[in-house]
Symmetry: C2
Subunit: 215 residues, 2 copies
Amino acid sequence: MIGLRLYDYGPSPNCLKVRILLRLLGLQFDCVSIDILGGDTLTDSYAQVNPARRTPVLEVKEDRIVESNAIIWFLAESTSFLPSGPLERAQVLRWLLFELDRGEDIAALRFRIGVGTLDPDSEDARKRREAGRRGLDQLELALRSSQFLVGDGCTVADLANYAYVHVAPEAGLPLRPYPAILRWLAEIERQPGFVNDLEPLPENARIGAGLSIYG
Amino acid sequence: MIGLRLYDYGPSPNCLKVRILLRLLGLQFDCVSIDILGGDTLTDSYAQVNPARRTPVLEVKEDRIVESNAIIWFLAESTSFLPSGPLERAQVLRWLLFELDRGEDIAALRFRIGVGTLDPDSEDARKRREAGRRGLDQLELALRSSQFLVGDGCTVADLANYAYVHVAPEAGLPLRPYPAILRWLAEIERQPGFVNDLEPLPENARIGAGLSIYG
């Protein structure tokens, strides 16, 4: 595949999904670094790239794909990371939709606590943690009887959910109560070519480098 | 396709998506009516059908698919409602993910105002309407230059977004400011075999039958 360009933000788990898969597949890509907090998504030229002003965006020659889970689905076509049977593909899609729905709770908590716009002891934070926990409960249940989320191998269903689940402790959701999830995270990280280069939240973040990722 | 069973809730736009596509495709299906407010999703036997206790669920012989957008993707495989090219498929997926993300704002507003658990004048309602409007703005922008969301024909990207957008006025979001969306809704409703049998919100709802759908 030629002509891949990724508009990328280092500390974003959504962008991390794409970087992980590109490396697992051994694909070359141009990387355009977008500093969200520095205002890079607010320029007129970025509105041309993505009117929703979000990252990641993947350019494939003349075309652009937005939404991280649509990007990894596209990249995984005809590889082992996306099964070929219609039923298995529907299950992969189901977990991508689950991730958008449930990952959002963890994402918002982690980011807003991190940059100091949400008090971790507030009612809002408590409700979101509760929602995040319900999502983790569902994942744990699915992974108790199965090594990966769909079929026998690692698919984009796993990679998508990895992104926010592995940083759940930074959102105040420790993973110790979830042994199947911890086993599964380690399994994903053992895939040949796996690299996690998620950057820490920017300097104005309250939480720091001393935090244990799998707390 | 044989052995299709839909666990269905009449007033749910998510369930409506599946019913619309099944009829557009002329597929026979068993329909199991689930009265959510009557407690049907809270039984032990429904937890076996879907541990997340949501509708719709599609049974395909021995298998079950949850998440409305995963279900319609599955049903649309090898039909005109899902294009075959990888790039076009990624664009369809992108709009399914958009719908989950943005449709949720409209869904929550409509339901909670409808059953009286959210004051339409509250700060929470105002914020959600603002988010809903941003989603409608994005759709309008996309539909100004294109008859359907992806390619030249009606796809599951359109059907998924139809579900909540067509009831946006019930969430306090009139569609008059969105001419391209109104044109597109009518286009979808002209597809041969299209039936919209969305039931009104249940009797304990505040909003009534006198409401104009396209307000």
